[in-house]
């Protein structure tokens, strides 16, 4: 290209506008950095004279044939709101996101209600939506309650995307949906399962996972408007999804993940020392894992309380354990469910899966999980009960 052609007015104008746009983008990006974790561990009072309590119930009046992927959030008034998806069957067009609220003092649930439907999402996003999936609530730094849930417009779960709705009344009503763009090919492939982590700058971290071309875990960072601020890859390849991220300090955390690879089938873990921006190669733990989701919280003494299927091939049991993830030493403290498939004479589906565990501000624990895909089972136990088992 000769200099005379380069120096035409048109050429110089295009170049100047290009350079100006690069500088503008650069000035926006210059201030971006990956923040440290905020320590969100519950620093509750010692249990003292508290009587140990553990209780089991089902979320009542489940009005759909199948339910799955429940999650929980503590509301500002101390109530516990649960979300799950339910319909004729997984992936059916009638699947909606459902919700119910527990009064933990009275141990009483409200009736299940529809929180969001496929039609509402399609109307809000101005696009065709085929089915809905996993919902996970988030509490933003401005205290608004968000609900992130999976949808897709074509194909299977591998072609999913994430949507966000925000409530100003603790989940009674929801605003217009927005889509979260998290992958480069038609925004396909992202799902969500694990509970949020918080960052010091007020942004929210959400463990997500990809299933379009591989199967790997990520941390998504977003602000309270649902704007995606960044992504970090926890694993690569095709083996580990549905991470639970457990910070131990502003810089350090471990993630526990469902493992889809070959034998030995174990929950896998990965470490970060820069607040989740980079992660170590994954390592197998000693916890068995039949390609199933796990749930965990970090206790205030640094140990991890984990809920997992203690099996290599079936989700026919659900177990509570406490341990030191670094030392790979785990103590089983309670078997929540155990119906070995091999011992069943009938052909009914046995499944205890997709646990979701939270610790509330007063130190109590609430767990929900899929019970044979027919009901959502809820387990409550207090700190005194946990301490009595250790």
């Amino acid at each position: 290209m000769t200099n005379s052609r380069l120096l035409t007015a048109k050429s110089l104008i295009v170049l100047c506008v290009f350079l100006a746009s690069v500088v503008t983008v650069g000035s926006q990006w210059q201030s971006l950095s990956w923040p440290a974790f905020r320590d969100a561990r519950i620093q509750s009072e010692p249990s003292g004279d508290q009587a140990p309590v553990i209780s089991f119930d089902f979320i009542p009046s489940i009005l759909t044939e199948q339910v799955h992927a429940a999650s929980l959030v503590e509301l500002e008034d101390g109530m516990i709101r649960a979300f799950w998806y339910g319909g004729t069957r997984e992936g059916a067009k009638d699947v909606a996101i459902w919700t119910a609220v527990l009064d933990p003092q009275r141990h009483k649930w409200t009736d299940a209600q529809v929180a969001y439907t496929r039609h509402e999402l399609a109307a809000g996003l101005k696009r065709y939506i085929r089915k809905l999936g996993n919902p996970v609530p988030v509490r933003f730094s401005d205290n608004r309650l968000g609900l992130i849930f999976v949808s897709n417009s074509v194909g299977g779960w591998a072609m999913s995307m994430l949507n966000l709705v925000v409530s100003n009344d603790e989940g009674k009503t929801w605003g217009e949906p927005t889509r979260m763009i998290t992958t480069p090919f038609a925004n396909l492939g992202t799902l969500v399962k694990g509970a949020q982590v918080d960052f010091e700058d007020g942004s929210t971290g959400l463990p997500v996972y990809q299933e379009l071309a591989g199967a790997y875990s990520q941390v998504l960072r977003l602000n309270s408007d649902g704007k995606v601020l960044g992504l970090a890859r926890i694993t690569d390849g095709g083996d580990a999804i549905q991470a639970v991220v457990l910070p131990s300090s502003p810089k350090n955390a471990v993630s526990l993940m469902r493992y889809r690879g070959g034998a030995p089938e174990r929950v896998v873990k990965s470490y970060t020392s820069d607040s989740g921006e980079h992660w170590s190669a994954m390592i197998r733990t000693t916890l068995q894992n039949p390609n199933a989701a796990v749930a965990a919280v970090r206790l205030d003494d640094g140990r991890i309380l984990v809920v997992f299927n203690d099996s290599v091939d079936e989700r026919d049991n659900l177990t509570l354990a406490v341990g030191d993830v670094d030392a790979q030493s785990w103590q089983v403290i309670h078997v929540l469910e155990n119906e070995p498939v091999a011992e069943q004479k009938d052909k009914r589906k046995i499944e205890f899966s997709y646990p979701f565990l939270i610790q509330t501000r007063n130190g109590d624990f609430h767990l929900v999980y899929t019970w044979h895909q027919k009901k959502i089972k809820h387990v409550f136990f207090n700190k005194a009960w946990l301490e009595s088992k250790l």
Binding site: V25, G189, L231, G237
Partner: protein, 202 residues
């Protein structure tokens, strides 16, 4: 309707119109007929069944990049008025750049290794340096159309015109990558054919 939705649906509309007129070209309709057909098709697509066809297409394809939108506009113009808004030598660098970048970008971004280039689109100055380099190369080579598309993508990002918060999604998309690969393979195939036949390339 938000601006994001308007632009997203506009992209779906362009895709349907380009495909429709590609089919209609076989009927050898006159330019006048084609020009009158355009608003009729737009009205049908937008207003019938509350735009269900466009909503469906948007659900399938997602939202397109600024580069795709610009190329679709140029393609539609050609189909309506038989005028090429851009010559092959202007479009070729776009397809070539997208194809070459995409061949590295998509495997890494969708699965392989811990190096995910898509992450850089949320705020990496290294990516921006790369964009600057590519832009200067395009300018130096005189590929002003391609540079214009790159600039349009950057400006659209600055003004938040698309749903995405990632710069990559403004510059190109998966569908453009697939078309670019097709164009690249077709070009390579044609060159090999001419070489085998001993025909000088046009």
């Amino acid at each position: 309707m938000s601006l994001h939705d308007a632009i997203g649906l506009f992209g779906s509309l362009l895709v349907v119109l380009v495909l429709a007129f590609q089919i209609l070209r076989r009927l050898k309709l006159s330019q006048t007929v084609r020009a009158w057909l355009l608003p009729v098709l737009v009205m049908v697509l937008v207003y019938s069944a509350q735009g269900a066809a466009l909503l469906y297409v948007r659900g399938l394809l997602g939202d397109l990049s600024m580069t795709s939108l610009a190329l679709l506009c140029a393609a539609l113009w050609y189909q309506l008025f038989d005028q090429k808004l851009l010559k092959s030598e202007q479009a070729a660098p776009v397809f070539f750049t997208v194809a070459v970048v995409g061949l590295f970008f998509y495997p890494l971004a969708l699965r392989y290794t811990m190096l995910d280039p898509y992450i850089a689109g949320f705020g990496s100055l290294v990516l921006l340096a790369g964009v600057l380099l590519v832009g200067l190369l395009l300018w130096f080579r005189g590929y002003l159309f391609a540079l214009g598309l790159l600039t349009a993508g950057l400006l659209a990002y600055v003004f938040d015109l698309l749903e995405s918060d990632n710069l990559w999604d403004y510059l190109f998309d998966g569908w453009l990558f697939l078309i670019s690969i097709f164009v690249l393979l077709k070009t390579i195939g044609r060159c090999i054919y001419y070489k085998i036949r001993g025909i000088p390339a046009a």
